[in-house]
């Protein structure tokens, strides 16, 4: 097992929601931008979503996680 295997991302955090938020932060807000847009098809019609929409999506997801945490506490 490699060093990378042993230390799972966020494993030391007791709250898995925080780990999830960190993961989403990395994949949604960082990383190489190869294309400035992503394309989503709905009913065979291509819709163009700019990066900003992806970030909005991440915020919504984050808020959902935080809401669940508050309810659980």
């Amino acid at each position: 097992m490699s060093d990378f295997d042993e230390i799972l991302v966020g494993e030391e955090w007791e709250n898995t929601d925080l780990s999830l938020l960190e993961t989403l932060d990395h994949v949604l807000n960082r990383g190489l931008v190869i294309a400035g847009e992503i394309t989503i098809s709905v009913a065979d019609i291509d819709l163009i979503f700019l990066r900003l929409n992806v970030m909005v999506s991440s915020v919504e997801t984050a808020q959902e996680v935080l809401r669940k945490r508050e309810l659980a506490e």
Binding site: D3, I7, G31, E37
Partner: protein, 241 residues
């Protein structure tokens, strides 16, 4: 047909066992001479922005990072093979330079939250005499400048402190501060050698003990998401001149 892109790498012609990608699609490698892209074939343009797919993206990148340090692509990167070929061709030197920079490295993140005591000095007292909109604007600009100057100084202090504690473990560093009147939220992203992960965590744990007034969150190792961007990007917002 489009390709969903997970990451770019150099000198990796074959994949080891990799988890399924977004929408459970199999993952494969597309080669562009000595550079490779880890992709899934997207048979239609339908792509769901879901938590499951975001995590699948990360799992593929994470799995690949055990094989070699890549440049992770951002979630949701759908391109045609021609677009990907053009991108790699156009940015070949920059991609290779970035890959050399992150080679053998992993990313660690530190988040710090500190409450500011006595925050009234830079805020409006609410008792200023009646002023025109021009004066109000200039006063707000002055406060903004003070905040920016304070933020820059805090960034330097934080960077110096982390370097004192972590020393040569840091190959590269990115620090950002989120300004606020009541708290300081600081984020430090570090690129370190993968064999230094345990030492990094040990030293950070010791450093945390010295600053009880600050809340810390340390996470990682991550694929080098924060160090993947090529400086040429975003010279034009969303490709608009």
């Amino acid at each position: 047909m489009k390709l969903y892109v997970y990451c770019l790498a150099e000198g990796v012609p074959k994949l080891r066992e990799t988890p399924p990608g977004v929408s459970d699609a199999p993952v494969r490698i597309v080669e562009f001479e000595d550079l490779s892209a880890v992709v899934s074939v997207c048979r239609s343009d339908a792509f769901q922005i879901t938590r499951k797919n975001a995590l699948a993206h990360h799992e593929v990148v994470r799995s690949f990072t055990q094989q070699a340090t890549p440049l992770p692509a951002r979630f949701g990167t759908l391109v045609t093979i021609e677009q990907l070929r053009n991108y790699v061709s156009t940015h070949r030197q920059a991609i290779k330079a970035k890959l050399a920079q992150v080679h053998g490295g992993l990313e660690m993140n530190v988040r710090m939250i500190q409450t500011i005591a006595g925050t009234g000095s830079s805020q409006s007292s609410g008792n200023e005499p009646m002023m025109g909109p021009g004066t109000a604007f200039l006063l707000e600009k002055r406060r903004e400048i003070f905040r920016e100057q304070g933020g820059a100084a805090q960034k330097e202090q934080l960077s110096a402190w982390l370097r004192e504690k972590l020393g040569d473990l840091i190959k590269e560093e990115k620090i950002s501060l989120v300004p606020s009147e009541t708290i300081i939220l600081a984020k430090a992203d570090h690129l370190i050698a993968r064999e230094d992960v345990h030492e990094y965590r040990t030293k950070m744990a010791q450093a945390v003990e010295e600053r009880p007034e600050v809340r810390f969150m340390v996470s990682g190792p991550w694929p080098p998401y924060s160090f993947a961007n090529i400086e040429l990007e975003f010279s034009r917002p969303f490709g608009v001149s």
